[in-house]
């Protein structure tokens, strides 16, 4: 039993393979002879080679260099083996010398790779000091592109802070390799022009490259960020001032979607102008996405503005606004006249019809008067409001949505009146129907109980019930018509908000990165089998498998402030039937009714 359990432990943990995997950077294929430094991952029996140290070197200095590197990068870098690149015939003395080096830098196992001339097929062998097992280990040589692996980020990202030791052990081998190369960035900063005691070959050893523009932008970004933070603190201070918190104004700010959008963008600006450097990849990508989104937004807004102000289109727009409002009011009046007659052949209750119709007609008359009162100022107001399109396309769209809401305010009012009337009628009807059957709603126990009514109560109740029942079609028709109009306006506003959300949340920087530098966003790796030769180790090429566009958008989507209605279709229909008011767009942070 004990033997079996030990075997299970042996098989399930880490799988001590008999195969040795050597990850060799393809940039070192033509390097001069030397010793290999890198990280040995014993649980996976694999060696990740980071660089080649050339002759001449002093072993003590190499050990010092490696311990310094370990301290800085927290990666367990050590000397793994020797690399023999003989351009002419095999140099016997060099290979013996390299074997002797194995005694100075003791490492288990000591890996020896040798390449003859320009041959593609290298010979690889290992030296085991503790040669208990005389088995011939199979060796797999995996080439990898050091620069791409260093820059790339593996998805899904492993949160190192949260993972326990056990999880880290089970963690994917690939993330260990990617991690090793990424953390050794400091190692790749020394190139062959440095006058150090150690001569290395890695992907940047021919000269560290940097871009002047990027460096200049980095220098310029610090004072810009400070200026921006100062300005933003001023603006947010002004916004939070007491003056704007009085009741009518605060109610107005919460209803206008333009204010929400502006607050959202202000928050974005605060994120990108903060002094703290991004901690990890996710935060960096988010900052970059916000920056590109703001840039594109403002660019599109300025384009829109230039189109609007050319040929005085905004003047024409203002001129057509009042006639459009008039037209809408006229259409509504015609609709009400139709309802007051015999709409669709239905016979209405004449008295109630006239009352409701006249009430709504008077309301429209008031509305039209107010619009006409405002008409001289409309053009000027619109001209100045149109200027705010330079803040972004999203702000312009929000302003459009708000203008639509303001212009159709009377439709909203009618909907509320109709809905309340209908709701009242429905409740009255249901309560009197219970009375008709001899039952009552018990508020204490929240259920329907039987109740004995007096004769006069029953008489009055039945009378009222009949009246309400026969007046129901009229009210229901008015309610239906105004609900449909309101739904139309809601749909138009909803489409505009959908567009705004799209511009807000699309991670453009990530998409462009996936298009141009696809190795930066890695979903995994893929292996390609290169030409083989019998007797030589298996040669594989490891390439980066990029993330698909769908996963890029899903992983890096920017959060927005609007949440879509959570009501299912059935609950919506139920609310409509009962006459409860529907609020289609609830913003996060608003109290639910």
């Amino acid at each position: 039993m004990r033997g079996v359990r030990l075997q299970e432990v042996c098989c399930s943990s880490g799988i001590a393979d008999m195969v040795l995997k050597v990850f060799f950077p393809s940039c070192c294929s033509s390097a001069e002879s030397g010793i290999l430094i890198g990280r040995w991952i014993s649980e996976q029996n694999s060696a990740v080679i980071l660089a080649v140290v050339h002759f001449p070197f002093i072993p003590v200095q190499v050990k010092q260099f490696l311990s310094e590197l370990q301290r800085v990068t927290k990666v367990n870098v050590s000397v793994l083996g020797s690399w023999n690149n003989s351009k002419q015939e095999k140099e016997e003395s060099l290979s013996e010398f390299l074997e002797d080096l194995g005694t100075i830098f003791s490492h288990e196992p000591w890996i020896q790779i040798s390449k003859e001339g320009d041959s593609k097929f290298w010979s690889c062998s290992t030296l085991q000091k503790r040669s208990n097992n005389h088995r011939e280990e199979e060796i797999i040589l995996v080439y990898y592109d050091q620069r791409k692996v260093m820059l790339s980020c593996l998805h899904p990202p492993l949160d190192t802070a949260a993972s326990t030791a056990q999880e880290a052990e089970d963690a994917s081998r690939l993330s260990a390799i990617f991690d090793t190369v990424a953390k050794s960035k400091v190692l790749f900063m020394t190139d062959k022009y440095d006058d150090g005691p150690i001569k290395l070959t890695h992907w940047q050893s021919d000269g560290v490259e940097a871009s002047i523009i990027v460096e200049l932008m980095k220098q310029a970004s610090v004072p810009t960020c400070m200026l921006l933070t100062f300005l933003l603190s001023l603006i947010s201070g002004a916004c939070k001032s007491r003056m704007l918190k009085f009741w009518p104004l605060s109610f107005l700010w919460s209803k206008l979607s333009t204010c929400e959008q502006l607050a959202h963008r202000l928050q974005h600006l605060q994120v990108i102008s903060s002094n703290k450097k991004a901690q990890n990849q996710t935060q960096l990508m988010r900052k970059a996405n916000i920056f590109v989104s703001l840039l594109i937004d403002v660019a599109l807004g300025i384009l829109l503005m230039s189109w609007l102000y050319r040929k005085n289109r905004i003047g024409h727009l203002a001129d057509t606004l009042i006639p459009v409002a008039d037209r809408v009011a006229e259409e509504l009046q015609d609709l009400l006249q139709w309802l007051m007659g015999a709409p669709a052949g239905l016979k209405m209750n004449r008295a109630l019809d006239q009352v409701l119709g006249r009430f709504f007609l008077y309301h429209i008359h008031l509305w039209i008067s107010y619009i006409h009162l405002m008409s001289p100022f409309i053009e000027m107001i619109l001209w100045y409001v149109g200027l705010s399109a330079c803040l972004g396309l999203t702000v312009a769209l929000c302003i459009l949505s708000d203008i639509v809401a303001l212009l159709t305010f009377h439709i909203y009012c009618f909907y509320v009146y109709g809905a309340r009337l209908y709701c009242l009628k429905i409740y009255g009807l249901s309560s009197l129907w219970r009375l008709f059957r001899g039952k009552k709603w018990n508020v204490l126990r929240q259920r329907v109980d039987s109740c004995s009514y007096d004769l006069d109560q029953l008489f009055i109740g039945t009378l009222l019930f009949t009246i309400l029942l026969f007046l129901l079609p009229t009210t229901a028709l008015y309610y239906l018509v105004f609900t449909l109009l309101r739904l139309l306006v809601v749909i138009v506003q909803g489409l505009i908000h959908l567009l705004v959300d799209l511009v807000d949340s699309l991670p453009l920087y990530s998409i462009i990165l996936r298009l141009c530098r696809s190795y930066r966003l890695a979903a995994g790796v893929k292996f390609r089998v290169l030409e083989q030769q019998d007797g030589k180790p298996l040669r594989l090429l490891m390439q980066i498998n990029p993330l698909s566009y769908g996963s890029v958008v899903q992983t890096y989507r920017l959060p927005t402030y609007s949440c879509y209605p959570k009501d299912s279709w059935t609950s919506l229909c139920k609310k409509l039937f009962l006459g409860e008011l529907i609020y289609p767009w609830k913003h996060k942070g608003e109290k639910q009714d």
Partner: protein
């Protein structure tokens, strides 16, 4: 490196070719090739679409219909070759590294998935009842990190070629030979 190729049939009767290559003792590649797009079927579909468009043109006298038909045919062909028509599905098993699945489309696009060996529990042949048929398919069982005996995910292989049981058994035997190697863990490291 040895390589052999054998003909098989898919579940729907079309001819497939299975090519086995042994790159090393622990590395094997199994590639299943499907018949390529036939010129016959392509010209039949194109002529049908164009004749229909010509018929509509004769009825409506609008030449836009003809250009629209040409455009639709071209775009449809490109979409079909790039997203739908799979020419070859291959399985690369590297003992101690992992299993790689590749689908190559007719336009040259390759979509690859690599599953590490530490996540692979086993490779098995499953039966499924689909409408009125019983079909066999090969799949990889992935380990559940919480439960060592459980299976967290099943990855089906060769979904578009759908080979028959004889072909699946060949592939199964090749895979199991390599997977068996990893179970021969060295006794010295476990037992003290």
């Amino acid at each position: 490196m040895q390589s052999q190729e054998r003909p098989f049939r898919s579940a729907s009767g079309e001819p497939l070719a299975l090519r086995r290559r042994q790159h090393s003792a622990s590395c094997r590649e199994l590639a299943l090739r499907r018949p390529r797009l036939q010129l016959r079927s392509l010209s039949a579909v194109t002529s049908a679409v164009w004749l229909a468009a010509y018929g509509v043109f004769v009825l409506s006298e609008n030449s836009m219909v003809l250009s629209a038909a040409i455009f639709i045919t071209l775009v449809g062909l490109i979409i079909y070759l790039h997203f739908v028509k799979i020419d070859q599905e291959s399985l690369l098993v590297i003992g101690s590294l992992g299993i790689q699945l590749t689908s190559s489309y007719a336009s040259g696009k390759e979509s690859t998935t690599f599953i590490e060996m530490s996540r692979v529990k086993d490779v098995v042949i499953n039966e499924a009842i689909y409408m009125q048929k019983v079909i066999y398919y090969l799949c990889i069982l992935l380990k559940d990190p919480q439960d060592p005996q459980g299976v967290s995910e099943v990855v089906p292989l060769f979904q578009s070629s759908q080979p028959r049981l004889d072909c699946l058994m060949e592939v199964y035997k090749s895979c199991q030979e390599i997977l068996d190697q990893r179970k021969e863990a060295p006794q010295s490291s476990g037992i003290k």
